[in-house]
C-alpha cells in the first residue's frame, strides 16, 4: 500500500502539499496511539514503579512524605506473617472454586446457546443480565440470600433436608458463598464470549462430523473445544487476573468497612489484606509490598501458562 502511494508523489522538489502529506502519514499513527500511552504512563506505569519504591520503605498514610528506608524488610515481614499466607491461600481457593465452575458452565451454556431454538434472544439476554449488576448490589443480595437465620438458601436447603449452614462464619461455606457471587455475575458474560468464538467455527466441520456418525458430545469435544482454544486461553487469563484482584465481594460480604474478610480472616483475600494494611492500619509501605507480591504472583502464573502452552504445542506437533 505504501509503495503504491509513494509512486504517485513526485520524487523531485517536494511541494509543500506533499511534505504535509508525508508528515501526516508518518506522524498520525503515533498521534492516534498517544492518548493511550500517555494516560497509561501517567496513571499506570508511573504509579506502578512508585509502588515498588514505597514497598522498600516504612510510610504512614497520614505522613506520606516521611519515608524510612527498610530495604526488603516489608517483604520478609510479610512472608513471615500468618495472615498473609491465609490471605494468599484464600485468594487461591476462592479463585479456583469460582473460576473453574464458572468457565466450565460458560462453555456448556455457550454450546446450548449455539443451537437453533425458539426464544434464543431471550435466553441470551437473561444469561447476560447478572453482568449488569454491580459487585455491591449483587453482594448485598447474596448476603441476604445466604443469611444463616432467615436467608432463602438455608430455607431451601432445609426443605430438602440439608442442615443449617453457617455461610458467614465457617471457612468453606463463606468461601463457597463468595465464589457463588463471582460465578453468578460472570458466567453469562464468558458464555457470550465463547458463543462469539463458536459462531466462527465453520459449519461444514459439524456437518462432516455428523455424517461420519459423531454424536453431539463428540462434536463438542473434538471440534468445538479445539477450535476455540485461543478464546478459552484468553478467558482463563482474564479470570485469573480477576480472581487475583478479588476485593469487593469479600469486603462487602464481611459487612462493611470495619470487619475485613471475616472474624477470623476466613475469607480475606490479598486485595483486602492490602487495603487493611494501607488504610485502616495506615502502613503504606507494607501495603505496597503486598501489591508487588501480587504482581510477582501474576507474572509467575503468566509464565507457567506460557510454558504449558508452549509445551503442549510442541508435544502436539511432535506426536
Amino acid at each position: 500500500m505504501a509503495t503504491h502511494v509513494r509512486a504517485e508523489a513526485p520524487p523531485a522538489r517536494p511541494s509543500w502539499r506533499s511534505r504535509l502529506y508525508r508528515f501526516d502519514l508518518k506522524a498520525s499513527p503515533y498521534a492516534f496511539i498517544a492518548p493511550f500511552f500517555l494516560c497509561f504512563a501517567a496513571f499506570g506505569l508511573f504509579p506502578l514503579i512508585w509502588t515498588g519504591w514505597l514497598s522498600l520503605h516504612y510510610v504512614d498514610l497520614l505522613t506520606p512524605d516521611v519515608m524510612e528506608w527498610k530495604g526488603f524488610g516489608n517483604y520478609t515481614r510479610l512472608w513471615s506473617n500468618d495472615q498473609f499466607w491465609t490471605a494468599l491461600r484464600n485468594t487461591f481457593t476462592i479463585g479456583v472454586i469460582s473460576t473453574v465452575p464458572q468457565l466450565l458452565m460458560a462453555l456448556g451454556l455457550a454450546h446450548l446457546l449455539n443451537y437453533r431454538m425458539r426464544g434464543r434472544g431471550f435466553f441470551r439476554v437473561a444469561i447476560l443480565a447478572p453482568y449488569a449488576t454491580s459487585i455491591a448490589a449483587a453482594t448485598l443480595v447474596f448476603v441476604q440470600l445466604f443469611n444463616p437465620d432467615y436467608g432463602f438458601i438455608n430455607w431451601a436447603l432445609g426443605a430438602i433436608g440439608i442442615d443449617h449452614t453457617q455461610w458467614y462464619a465457617d471457612t468453606w461455606p463463606s468461601q463457597i458463598a463468595i465464589s457463588t457471587i463471582v460465578t453468578w455475575r460472570w458466567t453469562g458474560y464468558n458464555a457470550l464470549i465463547y458463543l462469539a468464538a463458536m459462531q466462527a467455527v465453520p459449519k461444514d466441520l459439524y456437518e462432516a462430523a455428523s455424517l461420519d456418525g459423531a454424536n453431539r458430545w463428540q462434536q463438542f469435544t473434538r471440534i468445538t473445544i479445539p477450535s476455540i482454544r485461543p478464546t478459552i486461553m484468553f478467558t482463563i487469563i482474564v479470570s485469573t487476573i480477576g480472581a487475583t484482584q478479588l476485593f469487593g465481594e469479600p469486603m462487602l460480604f464481611g459487612g462493611g468497612v470495619g470487619v475485613s474478610g471475616g472474624s477470623a480472616h476466613q475469607f480475606q483475600t490479598l486485595s483486602l489484606y492490602m487495603y487493611e494494611l494501607g488504610w485502616p492500619s495506615r502502613q503504606l509501605g507494607r501495603a505496597s509490598a503486598v501489591a508487588w507480591t501480587m504482581l510477582l504472583i501474576l507474572l509467575l502464573i503468566g509464565l507457567v501458562q506460557f510454558l504449558i502452552t508452549r509445551y503442549r504445542k510442541r508435544h502436539e506437533l511432535g506426536g
Binding site: C39, G44, M117, Y131, G188, K203, G248, L295
Partner: protein, 305 residues
C-alpha cells in the same frame, strides 16, 4: 451472521433457509445437527432462572417491610412498601447525588475510552509505523497489571492535587483501557478494508478526514458495544471510587457500601435491598431495551481473540 442475530426469534426458519442452500445432505437428516433438543431447553431455562432469580428477589425484598424480609421462610412475592423503602434509602445515603455522579463518571469514561480506543485500534489495525508490534504487545501486557498496584501512588497524586472527593479523581485514571484498544483493533482488522483507506488517500483526504468519514462509520457497531461494556464496568466500579470518594459525594456503589451491612440484626434489610435495586435498575433498563443489540454486538465477533 449479523442478519440472523438481529432476528433471533425467527432464527429457526432463517437457519433452515441458510443451511438448505449449500447442499442437499440435510434431507437425509444431517441438518438437525444444530437444532436444540428438550434437554437444551430445560438446561437453558434453569440457567435463565438462576440468572434472573436474585434480580427478582431484590425487587421482592425492596417492596416488603424489613421485618417481613427477616422472617423464615423469606417472602417470595412483591408487596406495597417500595416507596417507603425508597424514601428511607434516600435519607440514609444521598442516592440522588450518587445516581447523577455515576451517570457523569460512566458517561465521560465510556466516551473517552471509545474515542481513544478507536483511534489507537485503527492505528494498530491498519497503519504502518515503526515499533507497531512491540507497542501492541505492550498494550496487551498492561491488561495483566492489577489496578490495586497503582492505588497507593494514585491516591497520593490525587490528594496532592487536592482532588479527593471530586469526580475527576475517578474519571481521569480511567480515560483509556487496554481492553478497548485490543477490542477495536480486532474489529477493525476484519471490518475495514485497506482499499477504502487507499481510495480516500488518493482522493486527497488526510488522516483526520479518514478517521471521520471512513473509520467512525464502519466502527460504529463495535463502538456501541464497547461503549456499553465500558459504561457497565465504570458504573459498577467499586475499589477506586471507594478509596477516593466519601459519602458526601459518592457514586452509586460507594453510596451502597454505606447503606449496606452484613449480618447485623438492627439494620433494615429491605432498605438495603432497595438501595441495591436503585443502583442496578438503570443498567437493567438499558439491558432490557438494548439487550438484543448488545448481545448481537458481542456475538457478532467484536471480541474474538
Amino acid at each position: 451472521m449479523a442478519a440472523t442475530l438481529s432476528t433471533p426469534t425467527s432464527s429457526r426458519e432463517a437457519g433452515k433457509k441458510a443451511h438448505a442452500a449449500p447442499s442437499r445432505l440435510f434431507r437425509r437428516g444431517a441438518g438437525d445437527h444444530d437444532k436444540a433438543g428438550p434437554v437444551a431447553y430445560v438446561l437453558l431455562s434453569v440457567a435463565a432462572l438462576v440468572s434472573l432469580f436474585p434480580l427478582y428477589w431484590t425487587f421482592v425484598a425492596a417492596s416488603n417491610t424489613g421485618e417481613r424480609v427477616a422472617q423464615s421462610p423469606p417472602p417470595m412475592f412483591p408487596s406495597g412498601e417500595l416507596w417507603t423503602n425508597i424514601s428511607t434509602a434516600w435519607d440514609q445515603a444521598d442516592m440522588g447525588t450518587a445516581l447523577l455522579n455515576s451517570t457523569v463518571v460512566a458517561g465521560c469514561v465510556s466516551l473517552s475510552t471509545v474515542l481513544f480506543s478507536t483511534l489507537a485500534g485503527f492505528a494498530f489495525a491498519k497503519l504502518r509505523f515503526r515499533g507497531r508490534n512491540a507497542l501492541l504487545t505492550l498494550v496487551v501486557a498492561t491488561m495483566t497489571i492489577p489496578p490495586q498496584l497503582s492505588v497507593i501512588p494514585l491516591y497520593r497524586i490525587i490528594t496532592k492535587l487536592d482532588w479527593g472527593n471530586h469526580l475527576q479523581a475517578v474519571i481521569l485514571p480511567s480515560l483509556v483501557a487496554a481492553f478497548g484498544v485490543f477490542f477495536m483493533r480486532q474489529f477493525l482488522s476484519e471490518a475495514l478494508p485497506f482499499e477504502l483507506i487507499e481510495a480516500a488517500r488518493v482522493d486527497g483526504a488526510n488522516s483526520l478526514r479518514i478517521i471521520w468519514h471512513v473509520v467512525f462509520p464502519i466502527a460504529r457497531p463495535a463502538m456501541a458495544v464497547l461503549g456499553m461494556l465500558v459504561f457497565v464496568q465504570s458504573w459498577n466500579d467499586f475499589f477506586w471510587p471507594f478509596v477516593v470518594l466519601t459519602q458526601q459525594n459518592p457514586t452509586v456503589q460507594v453510596a451502597l457500601s454505606a447503606i449496606g451491612g452484613g449480618s447485623g440484626h438492627d439494620i433494615n434489610q429491605a432498605v438495603i435491598m432497595t438501595g441495591a435495586l436503585v443502583g442496578t435498575l438503570p443498567l437493567l433498563l438499558i439491558f432490557a431495551v438494548l439487550g438484543k443489540h448488545i448481545v448481537g454486538g458481542i456475538t457478532s465477533g467484536a471480541v474474538k481473540s
